[in-house]
Every structure is written in structure tokens, then in C-alpha cells.
Symmetry: C3
Subunit: 159 residues, 3 copies
């Protein structure tokens, strides 16, 4: 393993750590910056994903659509006194095609309500495609494949 390869691995770890920190801090306005302009973002169930269905609980095909999603969440203006915590582990490079990386990782999202009640909100894996841009690695594609078939995402932050 050369130093360049080692460095890339750590860059990816940092990217996923930054991504989780952004969402958990409810800094949603910064969230689209993790993506390319023509990105594909989707939250779907394992069942649909494995069946090859393009359906998604959340679906976006550009960074602008991600921004719209954030605006919608903000405009809903319902202050839900809840916090999310993303645990991401097992970041794996599955394929390297001339610098475009197919990467998977496991995630667990825990939601804590203001009264202290904690629940397992979501578990699953990311099926991502990463490209390198001037300002670092960006998600050209990010699919959050949920282990469960359904999830309360109406008011939820992205995963």
C-alpha cells in the first residue's frame, strides 16, 4: 500500500465523519455541498433496492433539488425537539474506476427526543459513488439503503 492510497483512505474516513457531523449539527444548508451538481441522492428500502426499483422515500437528481429539500424542511417550520446521531462504520472502497470510487458504509441513526427518549431511527448502508473535485471528494451518487421498509422521513433530516 503506497502512501497515496493510505491518504485516500483517510480522506474518505474524514469525508464520512464530516458528513455525519454536518447532519447531526442540523447544519442542513451545508449538506448539499457534499454533492456534485448533477448528483443522484436517494433514500430507499433494501427491498426496493434489491428489486432494482428506482423508487425512493427521498429522491433527488441534482444539488439544486437537495437545496429545495432543505428549504422545504426549514419552511415546514415545525420545531421538532429531536436530535439525530449518525454512527458510520465500515467504509469500503468496492471499486476504483480511474479515480471514480464506488464506496459502501454501514450507518446507524439514533434519534433522541427532548424528553430523553432514544430510538433506533434507521440502520442500513450507503451505496455511494465519489469523484474528486478541486475542493475534495464529492458524492456523485449516494443511496441510503434502509434495512427497514418504511421510515418516518417526512420531518426527518437527510440520512
Amino acid at each position: 500500500m503506497r502512501l497515496a492510497e493510505v491518504a485516500r483512505r483517510l480522506e474518505l474516513d474524514t469525508l464520512y465523519a464530516d458528513y455525519a457531523a454536518c447532519l447531526d449539527a442540523d447544519a442542513l444548508e451545508r449538506w448539499p455541498e457534499f454533492f456534485t451538481e448533477d448528483c443522484h441522492y436517494r433514500v430507499t428500502s433494501a427491498e426496493n433496492y434489491e428489486a432494482g426499483l428506482p423508487l425512493g422515500l427521498i429522491y433527488a437528481t441534482s444539488k439544486d433539488m437537495l437545496r429545495d429539500r432543505v428549504s422545504a424542511l426549514r419552511d415546514a417550520n415545525i420545531y421538532e425537539p429531536q436530535r439525530y446521531r449518525h454512527l458510520i462504520s465500515g467504509v469500503r472502497i468496492e471499486r476504483d474506476d480511474a479515480g471514480t470510487l464506488d464506496v459502501t458504509a454501514n450507518f446507524l441513526v439514533v434519534r433522541t427526543m427532548q424528553d430523553g427518549a432514544m430510538i433506533l431511527f434507521a440502520a442500513g448502508r450507503y451505496v455511494d459513488r465519489l469523484v474528486h473535485r478541486e475542493d475534495g471528494w464529492k458524492f456523485a451518487r449516494k443511496i441510503a439503503v434502509l434495512d427497514s421498509r418504511q421510515i418516518d422521513t417526512l420531518l426527518a433530516i437527510p440520512i
Copy 2:
């Protein structure tokens, strides 16, 4: 820290990520390939482990026994519409004896049923021994020490 040491650390991270991905994808037929031919695999409770008891909820002393276990799970032929998600963190090299590594790591396994119900299925730590073979690192010993005394493992995938 030399580059070789850095590379080894990342190889171990990759190994545990691959291991989790294999189990979570229910690719059990590939699971024995993570082990040496004469491996020791055990799932036990912290209580038994600390008491030095050799008991195990699952116990195998060769790769062939792991294959048998997989066959048994497949033959049981009970389609349980559940998914498992392994979160593994804190991979630590506790001892390096001429290339044989004693490694521990924390794990959390979340189970999601088809109706979306999620539970904490298992938490604990791996107490592993790793050796390097032609095709990479293999578990010569893997003990999954569960924080709980009991677990429903009859139909569960390995941990």
C-alpha cells in the same frame, strides 16, 4: 509509525468492514473464507468468557464446521424476514507476536424485522487472533464475547 505499520492498520480496518458487509448481505457462503482451516470460532457471554469457561452458544474448531453451520442455517429453510447490521468500531492491535496479531474490536448488531421494528440484537467485543496468509489476513481465532448472557442465536446469522 512506518508506512508498513500504517498499511497494516488499514488492512485490518478493511478486514472488519468486509466481514461486517459479508454478514449483513447474508452472503454466509463466503463467511468461512475469513477463517483459517483450523480456526477457533465461538460466540459466548462475557460472564462465561471471564470465568474462563470454554462454553459457547456457537462453537467451531475448523473452517469445515463453519461451513456446516451455514448449511444448517440454510437447510432450516425458515425464511425470517429480518436484516442484520453490524457496526464495528475501535479495532485495536493488542499484541503482535511475530506477525500473529491479537486484535479486539467493539460490535453492535441491530436487527430489523420486515415490519420495520428494530432492536439492539447484540453488543460486545471481538477477541480475535489474526494470521497473514497468501490471500490476506485470516481469523485463526474469533471469539464474539456478548455483553448479555443469552441471545437468540438459533436462527441468527453468525456475529
Copy 3:
């Protein structure tokens, strides 16, 4: 990324893995050794932290106070047949000021009772400051910011 930077990143990963392993093994007498003599340690809620309140569910301003805390926990002498498991992920260096590092990380603590019941005990993030000493990295400051407002910490091990 130079090799020195890579090595430092892995040292931090190891530090957090060691920290989790120490607490999960109930090796509390070793816990203060992760800190500097004049350390600041606090467990607080996100609500209080964001409001800038210096309150803490647990509060210590020296390694000696950490030792006192451990003694108090031991003297309480109530054997609670419970185990804790720390999952720490997303270790991020937020700032490097001449070798003093501001580091954050996400944590999830799962508690398992003797009868096997498992609960999400705590989720949140560490807001830490690390300095390098002769014997490695030490926490000059460690704030465990809990997503929940309250937590049962009377008999709990540190976070």
C-alpha cells in the same frame, strides 16, 4: 498528506479505541490516565452546551477529581450487573493549534443488564482537546455532549 499526518490520525483512532475499551472493561482505575493533570472533564446536555452553560452532570477540573470520582463509584459498592459498550465513530480533527488538537467524535453507549435487556444508554459527541505528552496523547479537555437532556449517571461509569 504526509506520513506524519497519517500516523497522527491513526494514533487518534487508537486513543479513542483504547478509551472505549478501558471504560467497557470497567477498568476505571486506568481511566484518569487518559487525561492531563489539569484536565477539564464534563458530561453535559446539548441544550446546556449550546447555551454556553458551564453546567455538567459530571464535572471535574483535574485528574485528581477524576480519581475521586472513580473512588466514589467504587465506594458506592453497589454491584450493578450491567455492562456498557461504547461505539465511537467519526473522529475528526477540527483544529490544530501548534500541536494542540481540537477533536470531535460521535459516540453511542449501549447498556446491557444481566438479564440481557439492552438499552440505548447515551448518544452524543465528544468535544475534546488533545495535547501530546511523553507517553502519548492526553485529553486536556473532554466534554461529552449528550443528545438527551438527562441521563442516569449516578451509578454509571464515565462516558
